[in-house]
């Protein structure tokens, strides 16, 4: 394939993937009920060696009450993941500025070269939350093109085709439901993918 698509995957929206409607989510482009996606996201995060949450500016700054509640919910999710797997990470995307000469991939992720953070930390499953949609799609496509990382988007708007699993209309309650699913499932799923009995 010639042109940028030789190095980047085409945008999923241009490959016929459509976004879910309210109450729905998508997994690999297939529209599913949101509850199904919550269970699948929990399993993916728990089976990962380095499950990582990437919170963005919309939840890192206390610009309204909902943002504060979401930040609290995200930290609770991280705590639950960490309880199941000491390798879990929480790496912020504090802003979208191009960073020169380069970012420190241990402490942040940047939308313009998110692959550096993925590679450096050997992240195999990640979840974007609180990142503006344009920058999230920019990153999700670069991650899909250049890494083997499984991407999840907890989007407050319409969702992301360029993530492998995407929620829409994210609220603190929805994030809490994911945390509950992680807690509930953590006894059954280990990071080697086996189901314990």
């Amino acid at each position: 394939m010639a042109g940028p698509e030789a190095f980047l995957p085409p945008a999923a929206a241009c490959m016929g993937v459509v976004l879910p409607d309210p109450g729905q989510a998508h997994i690999n482009g297939e529209i599913v009920h949101e509850n199904v996606a919550i269970e699948e996201a929990a399993r993916k995060l728990l089976r990962a060696k380095v499950p990582t949450l990437f919170p963005g500016p919309l939840v890192l700054w206390a610009w309204n009450e909902t943002a504060v509640k979401k930040a609290t919910a995200i930290y609770a999710l991280y705590t639950a993941l960490r309880a199941a797997n000491k390798g879990a990470l929480l790496i912020p995307m504090p802003d979208y500025r191009p960073k020169y000469p380069k970012i420190n991939p241990e402490v942040e992720i940047n939308p313009n070269h998110p692959n550096l953070t993925i590679w450096h930390n050997k992240i195999d499953v990640c979840m974007f939350v609180g990142v503006h949609c344009h920058q999230a799609n920019l990153s999700l496509k670069i991650i899909r093109g250049g890494t083997d990382c499984y991407t999840i988007a907890m989007c407050a708007q319409a969702g992301h085709e360029d993530a492998m699993l995407s929620f829409r209309d994210a609220t603190p309650e929805k994030i809490n439901r994911l945390t509950e699913a992680v807690k509930r499932t953590s006894g059954e799923v280990s990071s080697n993918g086996r189901v314990s009995h």
């Binding site: 940028p4 309204n64 920058q135 708007q157 319409a158």
Partner: protein
């Protein structure tokens, strides 16, 4: 501007009731009016909760731009001024949109081209500005008459482009255009296009809801990019060495950025199909002979089909409502049984025929014409003659 709270049911400073867009589009009682396209633009903007409009005179859009100025005086539009040129106007529109305002502007012909650099910039910056383009000739010697050549030139700027045939569509497209363009998954500029003079200065009957109703204001907090900040891309990228870097990361970011804006255009299909009832409109779509086009060319094609029907020749119409996103699958489906596909156009190059030829199989079926240009009218008889000429020796038509 909204801070995320729904304002539906509240009253704005002009006393208009903010209503659910679905109610405004599909349920609110409508009254019949007889008005020019310029007046239609004014009435749509009156109900669109526009924060700012920037204007510059160029025929044939000057009248509509001046009427929007009247709306500012009356208090329906938050701010209004005249820019120094079309380039300045579109840059000022960008500034207002970067800052979180709902923006409206108009342009025509040479003005569109003078402003051109701004359109891809609006797209890359994800600015949902609505520009009402009233097309006119762009050639030298100077020509103020209707001609769609400029429309062919903006097709790949990345903007959404809807082409209205009638005053009614112009009214509806402006209001519905804001709703689609401002969706967080779309969030792109939109050109609502009409043919200059044919629509802008011709009176048409249309049904419009009360001026006491208005769209909810734009909510910039749903934007897929942050409001303007000199430290945040795209503004930072415009003045940053980032764009100058010759390295893979820089190229990949720019490529991913462009892919994302095209993806946003694709996402608009879902919203547009619901609001406009589809990206195309068909009339006798199963006929062997089809006329496929947009805008006034469709109106003339419809009249030609009527004349041919009187002679027992059945001709179908496929009207293209959205040029971007282009209704590729819809056109493939609508033309699959056609033996001859005529594409009448008001321009000298036939860009619409090129667009159609590029997406359908067996594109030898496409006859690029008839064409008129420079402001010439296209009498239906010209289309009839073209069709009859092509029919001879090409196909046997059931009479």
């Amino acid at each position: 501007m909204s801070s995320g709270k729904s304002l539906i049911g509240t009253v704005n400073k002009k006393g208009q009731r903010i209503v659910d867009p679905e109610y405004l589009f599909f349920e609110a009682p409508r009254q019949q009016y007889f008005m020019t396209g310029s007046e239609v633009t004014r009435e749509a903007v009156r109900r669109a909760s526009v924060d700012i409009s920037v204007a510059y005179p160029i025929t044939p859009q000057s009248e509509a731009a001046a009427m929007v100025g009247d709306l500012y005086v009356e208090g329906y539009v938050g701010d209004y001024f005249r820019g120094e040129s079309e380039f300045a106007v579109m840059s000022q529109c960008a500034g207002a949109s970067f800052g979180g305002a709902r923006v409206f502007t108009t342009t025509s012909g040479p003005g569109t081209l003078r402003a051109y650099e701004n359109f891809p910039m609006w797209v890359g910056s994800r600015l949902p500005i609505l520009i009402n383009v009233m097309v006119r000739g762009i050639n030298s010697p100077l020509n103020i008459q209707p001609d769609t050549l400029e429309l062919g030139m903006i097709l790949d700027t990345g903007m959404l482009i809807w082409h209205a045939e009638t005053g009614q569509e112009l009214f509806d497209y402006i209001l519905k255009g804001y709703l689609v363009a401002e969706q967080p998954d779309v969030h792109l500029p939109i050109a609502v296009v009409i043919d200059g003079f044919f629509v802008s200065h011709t009176k048409d009957i249309l049904m419009i809801p009360s001026a006491d109703l208005a769209l909810p204001p734009y909510d910039p907090y749903r934007s897929p990019v942050p409001c303007m900040d000199m430290e945040v891309p795209p503004v930072r990228m415009m003045r940053d060495p980032f764009v100058m870097k010759s390295n893979y990361i820089s190229y990949a970011t720019h490529a991913s950025w462009q892919q994302e804006t095209r993806a946003a255009c694709e996402r608009s299909r879902k919203h547009t199909i619901r609001l406009l009832g589809g990206l195309i409109e068909e009339d006798n779509g199963d006929a062997d002979i089809l006329i496929v086009s947009s805008g006034t060319a469709v109106a003339q094609g419809r009249e030609a089909a009527r004349l041919l029907a009187a002679e027992g020749i059945r001709v179908g119409i496929v009207k293209i409502k959205t040029l971007r996103p282009f209704p590729t699958q819809e056109i493939i489906e609508a033309t699959k049984h056609a033996k001859l596909i005529f594409v009448p156009e008001f321009n000298v190059v036939g860009w619409m025929a090129r667009e159609i030829k590029a997406v359908i199989p067996d594109n030898h079926r496409v006859i690029a014409g008839p064409h008129v240009a420079g402001g010439m009218t296209m009498p239906p008889e010209v289309i009839v003659e073209e069709i009859k000429k092509a029919m001879v020796g090409v196909m046997e038509v059931a009479r």
